[in-house]
């Protein structure tokens, strides 16, 4: 109750004057006491928040310190920042061999679907008789974009009847915590089996529900059927067909089918995890999993508890990095290791300049993750609850076995597939809507409209935006903002608004490294990176932590490569100096003769350029500056990028 009241004051200067009256008024009418809106209040100036201890378990510290002094201590915001970007940017990083033919692809999709459809519970409602025959707004999907649209529609039209149709039994919830916060508290991932009631600690230490709203927020679908206004969710139901001309949808759940009509429809079907064809055998035995939903998290947790050996994280994107770091922390006091395997020379090679990717690789190793770069899985077999992965060097070359007996196999007790996501566009395609042949996603205009009365938002939408052009984006922030615009335009009392928001993303790898970014983050683009000298240090030799015999054996079998070496070998480093300080007061610790890839970068900004324009900004261990990056992206062209970098106060730790 007072949650709204306090927000109201905050939002409105006018009300601040009379807030005493309002408090009085609301106190006399509402019963909920004096608790203020913690979240809204707390968020007013997040950077000024006192750090709140997040968890009772100690935060990870590098088990064996690197030979160089460790990077500057974590800023306090860092320990409390525990948010996760589950999704990487589109065009993201795929680490396994492209599937050879459509047939195989179809089979994979089928398998993936079967896994996600493992009995999760009874659909709600369980019968077609409890669903409305007609709704004003049909939202296909139950994720973040769907929920944001619901909010927007109901804000514009309070009497609207809205139905979300979600394949998951769970109420709409946020995905970013699924591969970080969830693994930072004991038993949290276990409890993800019931996501509706899951509560976790968010970045500012506040406890927060994973579900956007509790069940009582939603109108029972039976009431919708009776004609009451409100928003309901059909849980565990699938929209199997849309007749765009007739405004009609076919639904099914557990063999039950239903038909309903709608005025306007939003396709917010999201995306699913891609799967690796070579892991079919492992998947069949339940030893290769993906992490996309809360149920997936619970499933992974259960598999981890069962597993008796090492865990392989397959993939080198942000999702894989975050999860590998989380799992390494989780398995820290066990004899199990986390091995991250990817096709590129370094993790995040598709997003970061080489020198940052090399630093990231070392960070992961410090956290206890073993890296297997330039490697892909070509086949798998299962024996005694262990997965035997057949590996090959990228480029097709077989990895030479160390000995005849060992072969080129890597043994794991569990494989987590983090090889990218693909949009769920089957419904759109079968409904005659345009799906983008290259980018994927339902093609919509700048107002997020696919056809009259049909909109799309979130991961599944391929939209056009004037600044950076047509694209598809898989980011939480995008799901929220595009869902909101689509919903508002669907309910439009006013002329439709274009979607112009530039969505941001964030990635946290362990407790000491994180980045936020906006725009296009693609390592193929030329970049300008600016770092403060006190935040750049010589990384020194890689020190893998306590490589026990077992680990050594596994890793050495396939010929481990140290990422920084492979990355630095590519560097065409040439110094354009003359400006190197002779006495170098503040550059003393920075390496003047080393390769860029052998240094640590604790804090800085990277601009991604295209045709002399800034199209992306990466904030490396630098927080609370996204509003500046947003304006840099908006303006685009600058005479001197160094002057732009100064705007970010790189010399200041948070």
């Amino acid at each position: 109750m007072l949650r709204a009241v306090s927000s109201i004051y905050i939002e409105s200067k006018a009300f601040a004057v009379v807030r005493r009256d309002v408090i009085k008024l609301f106190r006399t009418t509402a019963y909920s006491g004096t608790t203020s809106n913690q979240t809204v209040l707390a968020g007013a100036s997040p950077s000024k928040q006192d750090p709140v201890p997040l968890q009772s378990t100690p935060l990870p510290t590098p088990p064996s310190p690197p030979s160089q002094p460790p990077p500057r201590g974590p800023r306090r915001g860092w320990f409390t920042a525990t948010a996760v970007a589950l999704t990487a940017s589109v065009g993201g990083v795929y680490f396994y061999r492209k599937l050879n033919n459509n047939e195989e692809e179809q089979q994979l999709k089928l398998e993936s679907k079967e896994e996600s459809e493992e009995i999760e519970g009874t659909p709600i409602p369980s019968s077609a008789e409890s669903l409305p025959r007609h709704v004003d707004y049909l939202v296909v999907g139950g994720g973040t974009a769907a929920f944001a649209a619901l909010r927007a529609i109901r804000s514009v039209k309070p009497e609207a009847r809205v139905l979300l149709v979600s394949e998951e039994i769970a109420l709409p919830y946020m995905r970013p915590p699924l591969n970080k916060e969830l693994w930072r508290e004991p038993d949290l991932a276990t409890r993800a089996a019931d996501p509706d009631t899951l509560v976790f600690h968010q970045w500012n230490g506040k406890r927060r529900r994973l579900a956007y709203e509790p069940n009582s927020f939603y109108l029972p679908t039976e009431k919708l059927r009776e004609g009451s206004p409100g928003a309901g969710v059909a849980r565990g139901w699938t929209v199997t067909a849309l007749d765009v001309d007739k405004h009609e949808a076919k639904l099914s759940a557990r063999g039950t089918t239903a038909t309903l009509t709608y005025d306007k429809c939003l396709i917010a079907t999201g995306a699913r995890a891609k799967r690796c064809a070579a892991l079919r055998a492992a998947r069949g035995a339940g030893l290769a999993l993906a992490l996309r939903s809360a149920r997936d998290a619970a499933r992974l947790d259960a598999a981890l508890q069962r597993s008796r050996g090492n865990v392989v994280v397959l993939g080198g994107g942000a999702h894989a990095c975050e999860l590998a770091a989380s799992l390494a922390e989780r398995l820290r006091d066990t004899d199990k290791r986390v091995v991250m395997m990817f096709r590129e020379a370094t993790p995040l090679a598709d997003e970061l300049p080489d020198y940052l990717a090399a630093h990231l690789a070392r960070t992961l190793q410090t956290l206890g993750v073993d890296l297997l770069p330039n490697t892909e899985v070509t086949d798998s077999r299962v024996s005694s609850e262990q997965v035997y992965l057949q590996l090959s060097k990228v480029g097709g070359e077989e990895i030479s076995p160390r000995s005849e007996e060992e072969g080129s196999e890597l043994v794991a007790s569990l494989v987590v597939e983090c090889v990218g996501i693909e949009p769920n566009t089957e419904l759109a395609a079968s409904s005659g809507l345009e799906v983008h042949p290259d980018l994927g996603g339902v093609v919509v205009n700048a107002e997020m409209q696919a056809r009259a009365g049909v909109f799309a938002a979130g991961d599944a939408a391929c939209f056009h935006e004037p600044l950076l052009g047509r694209r598809r984006v898989a980011r939480h922030d995008h799901a929220v903002a595009s869902g909101r615009v689509a919903g508002a335009n669907m309910a439009a009392l006013e002329p439709p608004r274009p979607y112009t928001h530039q969505p941001m993303l964030w990635t946290d790898v362990g407790p000491r490294l994180g980045y936020e970014a906006i725009g296009i983050i693609d390592s193929r683009l030329p970049t300008v990176g600016v770092f403060s000298a006190d935040a750049v240090t010589e990384a020194g030799a890689i020190t893998n932590r306590e490589e026990d015999a077992a680990t050594k054996q596994i890793v050495l079998e396939v010929g481990k490569e140290i990422p920084s070496e492979s990355a630095s070998s590519k560097d065409a480093s040439k110094e354009t100096d003359g400006e190197i300080p002779s006495s170098g007061t503040s550059l003393q610790r920075s390496a003047t003769s080393s390769e860029p890839s052998s240094r640590s970068y604790e804090r800085g900004v990277v601009f991604y350029l295209k045709d002399k324009r800034v199209v992306g900004v990466l904030l490396w261990n630098l927080f609370n500056r996204m509003h500046i990056a947003r304006q840099v992206l908006k303006q685009g062209e600058f005479e001197d990028m160094f002057e732009v970098a100064k705007l970010f106060s790189l010399h200041e730790e948070d």
Binding site: L25, T29, A30, G43, P353, Q635
Partner: protein, 152 residues
């Protein structure tokens, strides 16, 4: 100038600049466009922005219409004290909300004692800071400070 530039990466496409803190602390010559004003609770024309993320689920939940009636009454009230003519509408709203204790009852944040103790102090400062940073305020429940919040 304590500044070092290197061209690195494939084909030397990446410019890496390492600069002394004092150089970075110097005033920048770059000028950025003003950020657009973030819409708050009250629109420019004085009407209520029901889409304001600051309202959370109030305007969209099961008591959304009752809340809107009550709050509209308050907003446009010319009584003294303001809102004193809205008692009936607030009673209706309260009646509705009492049917949803888990929605409109206590906050799920369990750090309530702390929150209560600091709430009033925070409220005062928040009013001031919200005036200067409305957009950050609006999305305060986002999973990351700069990200938009769906559940607001």
């Amino acid at each position: 100038m304590s500044l070092r530039e290197e061209w690195t990466g494939p084909g030397g496409k990446d410019l890496l600049v390492v600069a002394a803190p004092e150089v970075l602390a110097a005033p920048s010559r770059a000028i950025l466009p003003e950020p657009p004003p973030a819409p708050g609770l009250v629109n420019a024309d004085g009407s209520i922005n029901w889409g304001c993320p600051c309202l959370g689920g109030m305007a969209t939940g099961p008591c959304g219409t009752q809340f809107r009636d009550a709050f509209s009454c308050f907003h446009y009230s010319e009584a003294d004290p303001k809102g004193s003519d809205c008692y009936e509408k607030f009673s209706v709203m309260q009646e509705c909300m009492s049917q949803y204790p888990d929605l409109y009852g206590k906050d799920e944040d369990e750090d309530e004692d702390v929150a209560e103790a600091t709430a009033s102090a925070e409220l005062a400062t928040s009013v001031a800071s919200a005036a200067s940073a409305p957009s950050a305020q609006a999305d305060a429940e986002a999973p990351r400070p700069a990200a938009a919040a769906a559940n607001n």
